[in-house]
């Protein structure tokens, strides 16, 4: 596709359930990022993938959060045993990986944990 694609756009789940959020980056972009945007909290960096290197997980808030990137393309962010404070918009971005460079963001996945 032309841009970064994320799915689902909206997800409502019950506390304690696991959720998976998907990101399809722009073709050819080697860098992929996950951010979380909460009301009043701004954008919070979660995890960064660059090519085939090990991801930088320094922004993940707890061990309930994990992400993988298969084949250097599609990425999945998994949240286990969701809590109400996990409710947020999860944004994925990709870039050519040049330093520094422009990030291309998807429209986000809005997660609501009841």
């Amino acid at each position: 596709g032309a841009g970064v694609s994320q799915s689902p756009s909206n997800k409502v789940t019950e506390k304690g359930k696991d959720v998976e959020l998907r990101c399809d980056p722009i073709s050819g972009h080697t860098a992929l990022y996950w951010y979380r945007q909460s009301l009043g909290q701004g954008l919070e960096f979660l995890i960064y993938f660059q090519g085939n290197s090990a991801p930088d997980k320094s922004g993940l808030p707890s061990d309930r959060f994990s992400a993988e990137r298969t084949g250097g393309s599609v990425s999945t962010l998994t949240i286990q045993r969701t809590q109400q404070e996990d409710s947020a918009v999860y944004l994925c971005a990709s870039s050519l990986g040049t330093d520094p460079g422009e990030l291309f963001f998807g429209e986000g996945s809005r997660l609501t944990v009841l």
Binding site: Q41, D56, P100, L103
Partner: protein, 113 residues
């Protein structure tokens, strides 16, 4: 980690008026990025500033970087309803593994007729 403070938090201006949004860093700025987010959508890149004193313009939006003040300003001239949205500044987090941005909390702009 670097903290980015944006001011004001929100702004309501009448169409045609000028406005300025500021972004102040707690650490030295080596590069500053401005993004715009329309309500309910992803972020769109506006411009990148890398050198002290650098100034860039895109249509009616101008951004400047003041390295000494560790600050960047974004100025909109003759605002239009299409300028409405959330403006976020971003700066390099300084990951050991590579490159990612840390963002301010954003400035919400509403332009009234």
């Amino acid at each position: 980690s670097q903290e980015l403070e944006q001011s004001p938090q929100s702004l309501i201006v009448q169409e045609g008026k000028n406005l300025t949004i500021n972004c102040t860093s707690s650490k030295t700025l080596y590069g500053l990025y401005w993004y715009k987010q329309k309500y309910g959508e992803g972020l769109i890149f506006l411009m990148m500033l890398q050198k002290g004193g650098e100034e860039k313009s895109h249509e009616k939006i101008t951004a400047k970087l003041d390295e000494k003040k560790q600050q960047s300003s974004l100025h909109i001239t003759a605002s239009q309803p299409s300028h409405a949205g959330i403006y976020l500044c971003g700066a390099d987090i300084g990951l050991n593994s590579g490159y990612a941005l840390n963002f301010g909390k954003g400035t919400s702009l509403l332009v009234t007729p």
